[in-house]
């Protein structure tokens, strides 16, 4: 069966305007709205696999990618999403320029706001930075990662990847493993997955789990084999190599031995288990290449593909809420 990509009118019809002006947290959405966004994204997946990938839904709109932290996949994913929808996309990485001259986030925001963008996509190293920015600008703000707080579009693309692999998210057992403490991906995923009815476990050494994490509505495990026992999805998190300092974990080799995912440990998961990773991976630290590269098990490439489609859905939905004067 050939699946045909939806046309612009069809997409417009199916788009539910985003419930808020900004997309800062997965808690801005309810399960119905998430379902609608993922459905919309499915259409974009088909579109993105065609030769003609453009749909002029955001024609005339300006999207600014404001990345205070280095990023390859998220930034290019938002850029491609914007361009495929016909928006003008500007990438800014203020790390090297004005910020070092003493310009604050707010100064930058006010400057950019004066250029009349429609959507600002921001990544910043401080928790709450996207929320702060949203209070000072007139356009829509999309949080592409704020410190250790949230990365909501990542959680959406992860749920889309799971839904496509299993046909549902509800009822899946998902083990999120590794450095949960410093991970915005983990926070957004815990919130979204529990909202969608998945059973979530977090697995890692106590030094890399947040205080009172059990009260997030998740099961907590310190042993990887135990934590992924019977899991449908094993989501590995990146271990920042600087965590070796400050006595969080002793060494890469010990970390890999105890919390790195290899074939032997993966055998404890449910049959048909799928492995995910938000990237970039530290091969041989949190995940063995043998597992990461096995397309029968790994969803890592799908995650990247879903990233563009989900961001197109988010942009379309946000734009549908924008003023159309």
């Amino acid at each position: 069966m050939t699946v045909i990509a939806p046309g612009a009118d069809e997409v417009r019809q199916r788009t539910i305007p985003f419930p808020r002006r900004h997309f800062l947290s997965v808690t801005d959405l309810d399960p119905v709205q998430v379902g609608a966004l993922l459905d919309l994204a499915e259409g974009f997946v088909v579109l993105n696999r065609q030769r003609a990938k453009k749909l002029d839904l955001l024609k005339g709109r300006t999207l600014i990618n404001l990345f205070f932290e280095a990023s390859t996949r998220t930034q290019s994913s938002f850029e491609l999403a914007g361009k495929r929808l016909g928006a003008d996309v500007v990438n800014m990485s203020p790390r090297a320029s004005s910020v070092t001259k003493g310009e604050t986030l707010i100064d930058t925001a006010v400057t950019l706001n004066a250029m009349q963008p429609d959507i600002l996509v921001i990544r910043h190293g401080s928790s709450g930075a996207a929320s702060l920015l949203s209070q000072k600008v007139d356009c829509s703000v999309i949080n592409a990662g704020d410190g250790q707080h949230e990365h909501p579009s990542q959680a959406l693309l992860d749920s889309l990847s799971m839904r496509r692999a299993f046909g549902r998210v509800d009822g899946l057992t998902v083990a999120i493993c590794g450095d949960v403490l410093h991970s915005r991906v983990a926070r957004s995923n815990v919130a979204l997955l529990t909202m969608l009815g998945a059973r979530v476990r977090v697995v890692g050494p106590p030094t890399l789990l947040p205080c009172d994490v059990a009260r997030w509505g998740v099961e907590v495990h310190h042993d990887l084999r135990e934590g992924i026992d019977g899991a449908d999805v094993v989501m590995m998190l990146r271990l920042q190599l600087e965590r070796m300092q400050g006595a969080l974990v002793p060494s890469m080799r010990e970390y890999f031995r105890l919390w790195g995912l290899d074939r032997e440990k993966l055998a404890h998961a449910a049959p048909g288990v799928r492995v995910m990773h938000p990237g970039p991976m530290n091969r041989g630290v949190e995940i063995d290449s043998d597992v990461a590269d096995d397309t029968g098990v790994s969803l890592i490439q799908d995650q990247v593909e879903m990233g563009v489609a989900v961001r197109m859905a988010v942009l379309t939905s946000i734009a549908a809420r924008l003023d159309n004067r």
Binding site: T104, S127, G147
Partner: protein, 431 residues
């Protein structure tokens, strides 16, 4: 210049020294309290008296705030001694102790002298400097405590910075103790608090904020208690903030150790959830704690375990606050909201009024040896007349302080200062 003698009649007098809370009158002459009449009116007042009918408003000693940061010298756009003094007068605060973490640091009698000279020129409220405990607040070499005390410093402290080296702390306590100088110290383990901007909890974890456990305060306080036991010197615990360190304090008190403690009005009024969506006005040092900790702090204030309440006034302009939470400056202004915020604890029925007033008048006066803070004939006529029931909406934009970083912005409080007198002279009067 002598000011006109004043007689307050029909007031609700609160005298923390005698414990009197009831109707009465007070006569002030030549800058001093001349007479206090419980339950009645003064007789035979001559023509030149200014008679003020308090109409049931509270008359108590002017507040003494042991922890005020200004920006002078070094950061005058944040706050000058004059703007702080005007804010204090408006808030019913008649004596302030300024912190030594200025630029230059008050670690030298000359800087203390500068502060006192400026305060004399401004002439609104009493300003006393606290001297640095260590040179340049570096936590290593002892500052000239004796000379600074002679110059007028009322206690020594390294302000927000903990004195990490236990040997330095021990020697400091022993040395200052022998000179009769009070040492204040904010207990915080430097490693557990490194980089933290919130209290470790489910909330901070969800918000992705780097956090410190309450144990950081308990550990350092336990060390300080052991050093007090070793040296026998007096210690003022600066801004105790949680239930666990309060338990340590209670045990130390039970052993009869000479330790007093302050709490900031912010930690008595807010908990960590007030940070909400990364409100930087609620970023404080120590960080706001859990609600259980706040309630324990209130209980400790009611029981007298916590002796003193401070405003922890710390001005920060928008450019220091309008930043992502982890980058924003900590601290809140508080001189103008100290009294109404404190009165909330009375209106909510949590702490008796006389006990609250004691914690901001007589208790701090005794800690640093001032004759103010009481309604006794011969005491300085530092007074505040306050309508404790008058409702008000705190609007940060209307604060007198040069910085408007008030976590009380938008809060409804009760308590309007009608008049503030310093040495018998009116320094603030509400319209």
């Amino acid at each position: 210049m002598t000011s006109r003698p004043v007689a307050f009649i029909g007031a609700r007098l609160i005298d923390p020294e005698s414990g009197w809370d009831g109707p009465g009158a007070l006569v002030a002459r030549d800058g001093l309290v001349a007479d206090v009449i419980h339950g009645g009116r003064p007789g035979g007042l001559s023509e030149d008296f200014r008679v003020i009918d308090a109409d049931g408003a509270m008359l108590c000693p002017g507040l003494i705030d042991l922890r005020v940061r200004t920006g002078e010298p070094g950061a005058e756009p944040k706050e000058t001694l004059e703007s702080a003094a005007r804010a204090a007068a408006a808030g019913g605060v008649t004596s302030i102790v300024v912190q030594p973490d200025t630029d230059p640091v008050i670690d030298d009698p000359a800087v203390a002298d500068f502060i006192l000279r400026r305060a004399r020129d401004i002439g609104l409220v009493h300003v006393y400097p606290a001297g640095a405990a260590t040179k340049g607040l570096n936590g290593q070499g002892m500052a000239e405590i004796g000379l600074m005390a002679e110059a007028g410093c009322v206690y020594v402290t390294d302000a927000d910075r903990p004195i990490v080296d236990s040997r330095v702390m021990r020697r400091l306590l022993a040395y200052a103790g022998a000179l009769g100088v009070l040492v204040a110290h904010r207990p915080a383990d430097p490693w557990l608090t490194q980089g933290a901007c919130a209290t470790e909890s489910e909330f901070a974890g969800r918000m992705g904020l780097a956090a410190e456990p309450v144990a950081a305060e308990t550990i350092m306080l336990e060390r300080d208690i052991a050093l007090v036991e070793l040296t026998g010197a007096r210690l003022m615990v600066d801004q105790i903030s949680a239930a666990a360190p309060l338990a340590s304090l209670a045990r130390a008190r039970a052993r009869g150790l000479p330790i007093i403690a302050t709490a900031s009005i912010n930690h008595l009024s807010f908990n960590e959830l007030d940070i909400g969506d990364y409100r930087t006005f609620c970023k404080l040092v120590p960080p706001l704690r859990a609600e259980d900790d706040r309630l324990a702090l209130i209980e400790a204030l009611a029981s007298g375990l916590v002796d003193i309440v401070v405003s922890a006034h710390s001005p920060a302009p928008p450019e220091d606050k309008r930043l992502p939470y982890d980058e924003a400056a900590p601290g809140a202004v508080g001189l103008e909201t100290l009294l109404p915020a404190l009165l909330t604890l009375h209106h909510e029925g949590r702490v008796p009024l006389a006990r609250l007033i004691h914690a901001v008048t007589l208790a701090p006066a005794r800690a640093i040896g001032l004759s103010a803070g009481r309604l006794t004939p011969g005491a300085p006529a530092d007074l505040v007349l306050c309508d404790i029931y008058a409702p008000r909406l705190i609007d940060a934009a209307r604060l007198i302080s040069k910085s408007r970083n008030s976590p009380f912005d938008g809060r409804r409080l009760q308590g309007m200062v009608r008049m503030t007198l310093v040495d018998g002279k009116v320094v603030h009067q509400s319209r």
